[in-house]
Symmetry: C2
Subunit: 339 residues, 2 copies
DNA sequence: GCGCTTTGGGAGAGCGTTAATACGCGGGGC
DNA sequence: GCCCCGCGTATTAACGCTCTCCCAAAGCGC
């Protein structure tokens, strides 16, 4: 616990006032005359006093710290989210206690216990399973301030996030609009029970009267560029190649793009590619990548604001509010050319 | 501070034992007979008891939490570092209190105060300025466990990091070896006082008898892909184009690569490019990027181990130890072809 | 000069936990 | 039969801070 040994009592001893008076003076209480405050504050500065937030928390029953639980920070969009949240929280005087679940429910539960034991004032979480929310609902029911970073419609918990179904629908629809009918989907989250993207994809196909072909749904078993590369290797090498690929995130899309460039498959002439999240590396890729934009700043701003409101509400939380942000599709060269 | 209201006292009331007995029982003290322990532990489980780490910290004088202060998590290598550190710490039962300095010394100081006020047991920091370490040295002198994530040789503080000077030297040397003499450097950190990369670059030039040309040193004013793109726009559009580019990180390098691809400048035939950090997006770029590998896992493992040792040392810290990791150069297509 | 308020400050309790110490009681040694 | 010991548990005092009283002296009106 650091080596910070200067306490209120030390300032009290040095100035001759009681610890109580010192405490009030350092918090600018009007009950202490200006002159006394000056003396005390000067003494505090000389001793290099730093208030012990732990002791403060014990009595005030708030830690001014929130728990941030993410699945896996290597996804650039979650990285950006983490950064943006930390910024917003620190601007409000809150610290960020960070933990990862590694896309594993058991670890998620452990991470939540860890931050709860440290008495965080609230939790922001990007849950592993968008459907496995019971443990979170229990917290919410116990009046624990918690906000999901996923726009899960029927969570029963406050949530702010991209409408992934609509995003996937827009991306697929766009591919259809520019003339594609054989559209592959790369999505690692679907087997884990996060079906939104898959549903958006299927819905767009259905609306266009295109039959759903299970062979075109690829499970990359991960979310790295590498995974995207190998996910498409099978179908693309085969005889019945798709003419378009929709990837559930830009890392996967860039992997697919790389496969194409390496095998002299022209993008977008031979195969069009759309990603999701609109990360910077996509914009500046070998062929600039079309992508569904994830409005990180908007999501984090709203999520933090909502969490602050829940914290302020105290013992009687308001009804949960779910905000689903309708994402924009950013069209770049990887789908630009008409067929 | 959450809404966790179950205390030792509640378990005591329920079971009829004193809070003290409950405390001992839950910590498996041999002083409490097995049978009593069972009763108490069952009651604790029923009440959903979660120990209050804050209260525990106040008396034990350790929080089992460490502060992680980074400049800017958007750099993929720092992202990876953050993830890897969180993992290592959580495996050791430590929480990670995370803060960013946004590459600003004032904010760095504030971030450190924030984590110190929360009584973290130690600090891991990627400092803004590799030469502005006085405030950190003061902490170290006060026996505060702190480890830098930068291999700064004469820090006087424990440090683990890549040897950036050698890395830059290797990259530049490689470009010289494959026949280049007009080699541009893109480096945003140099104007901030982090001169290691620049020095490695200049040293390699000098050894090869190549005159240093200030016009070839480009300040991107940032570290995004976008910045890399615009940083090279000037020299590359001019008459006296360099034939090779060494970028201080892969984001910048990918920006430069993108400029080339967009303007039909062949890589590596017309211009060779080397980056630094060896991020995955570089490996799968339009032209796979040569890069100096940053051994993230090694750095974080050693840094965390060192921090643990410092924490265990208590009031008498051992002499600071600085570990500089000699990075490997990964050669890919962006520099492969001989001229 | 009396009682009132106001001003400046202190004493003490308590936040949830742990560590040190105290205590009651049963049993064994002599 | 008495003392002592040890077992099982309770009591008490911290940890550093804030909050709720409380008190003493000064100021003020009549």
């Amino acid at each position: 616990m650091g080596r910070s040994i200067v306490r209120l009592k030390d300032i009290a001893d040095k100035t001759g006032f009681s610890t109580n008076t010192v405490s009030l003076a350092l918090r600018h209480s009007p009950r202490i005359p200006q002159q006394t405050r000056d003396v005390i504050q000067r003494a505090a500065a000389e001793l290099n006093y730093l208030p012990n937030q732990i002791a403060k928390s014990l009595v005030s029953r708030e830690t001014k710290t929130i728990g941030l639980v993410l699945t896996d920070i290597n996804n650039p969009v979650l990285t950006h989210t983490a950064q943006s949240i930390e910024l917003a929280l620190s601007a409000r005087g809150y610290g960020t206690l960070f933990a990862t679940s590694n896309n594993n429910l058991t670890e998620e539960v452990r991470a939540i216990e860890m931050v709860r034991a440290r008495q965080v004032d609230g939790i922001l979480i990007y849950p592993t399973g968008h459907r496995q929310l019971d443990h979170l609902r229990m917290l919410r029911r116990a009046n624990y301030p918690i906000v999901l970073l996923v726009g899960e419609a029927d969570a029963g918990i406050d949530a702010v996030g991209m409408d992934e179904r609509r995003g996937a629908h827009k991306a697929t629809r766009h591919l259809i609009d520019v003339g594609h009918r054989r559209i592959a989907l790369i999505d690692g989250a679907n087997p884990q029970g996060n079906r939104e993207k898959r549903e958006g994809y299927q819905q767009a196909l259905a609306e266009a009267g295109i039959g759903f072909e299970p062979a075109l749904v690829l499970d990359p078993r991960g979310n790295s560029v590498d995974r995207g590369y190998w996910a498409v290797d099978g179908v693309m090498s085969g005889p019945d190649r798709p003419t378009a690929i929709f990837a559930a995130n830009d890392s996967l899309a860039l992997g697919a793009l790389r496969w194409c460039l390496k095998h002299n498959v022209r993008v977008p002439e031979d195969v069009a590619i759309v990603g999701m999240d609109n990360i910077e590396f996509g914009e500046y890729a070998g062929v600039p990548l079309s992508s569904v934009d994830y409005a990180v700043e908007t999501v984090t701003r709203m999520a933090v604001e909502r969490l602050m409101r829940l914290i302020a509400a105290g013992d009687q939380l308001p009804e949960p509010r779910i905000t689903q942000i309708d994402p924009d599709l950013v069209i770049r060269e990887s789908t630009r050319a008409q067929r």
